[in-house]
Symmetry: C2
Subunit: 149 residues, 2 copies
Amino acid sequence: MIVVFDRDHIVPELPGIVLLSHGPFAGACVESVAMLQGAQENLAAFGLEPADELADYTAAVLDAVRAFPDGSIIMVDLYGGTPCNQMMLAALKEGLDLHIISGFGLPMVVDACSLRSAELKGDELLAQIEEIAKAGIINVSDMIHGRNA
Amino acid sequence: MIVVFDRDHIVPELPGIVLLSHGPFAGACVESVAMLQGAQENLAAFGLEPADELADYTAAVLDAVRAFPDGSIIMVDLYGGTPCNQMMLAALKEGLDLHIISGFGLPMVVDACSLRSAELKGDELLAQIEEIAKAGIINVSDMIHGRNA
């Protein structure tokens, strides 16, 4: 399991962002965001590796989610993938009020880090991020050739 | 510069996919995709690091794009970021016919790997990927609570 989580430096009232992926994608995202915007508070990542026990993985993620302030959100790499499914099961079986979105990339994470606040969190934050992340997927070639100006 | 590119094992007629990012995000994506789908042919990644000369970075990327078959596509982490801007400049200044899309995440890369072929490549591939990648951004909480069923 690849873990990026600084339990000793949690900022109160700042909603956390927890990135989940197969392999190193989530942890690398934290590094790339830091290169763009500087190190971010309350940003964690858990990369599932082939040898991991799923129960251990899920427990580690939920432990971080509980340690972060209310309204924290979970971003998973792929809808229907194992990290996504584990969180859906946790929400349904344990009745946890988790805020989950799939398909993260840099636009989603960067803007979530900028937008989140004590006022904008949880489901409201998720709704904004969904639109922003979709808008961050741009056919740059069309733009260059004036096809979607 | 973080480079994932196997020049000695290029598969003819299979459009290449070249992932570009700030830092390790692009290279980690190749590893995570391999964990999901097995190692992919003609999939390269270039991570820009703070100490890199931009001209060297751009030259390395374009060298890979030229080595791959026609109709290969470039996925950049963030519209307006340095890797994106370097490719836009190369397309505009050197008149290169590059196929570029921004905001990659697992849904985009996984589906591009599955869809690409000698027939589906370049701008046509890009158009399909754009829609699929947007559809891969799903508010999972809404789904759990039946709010977007």
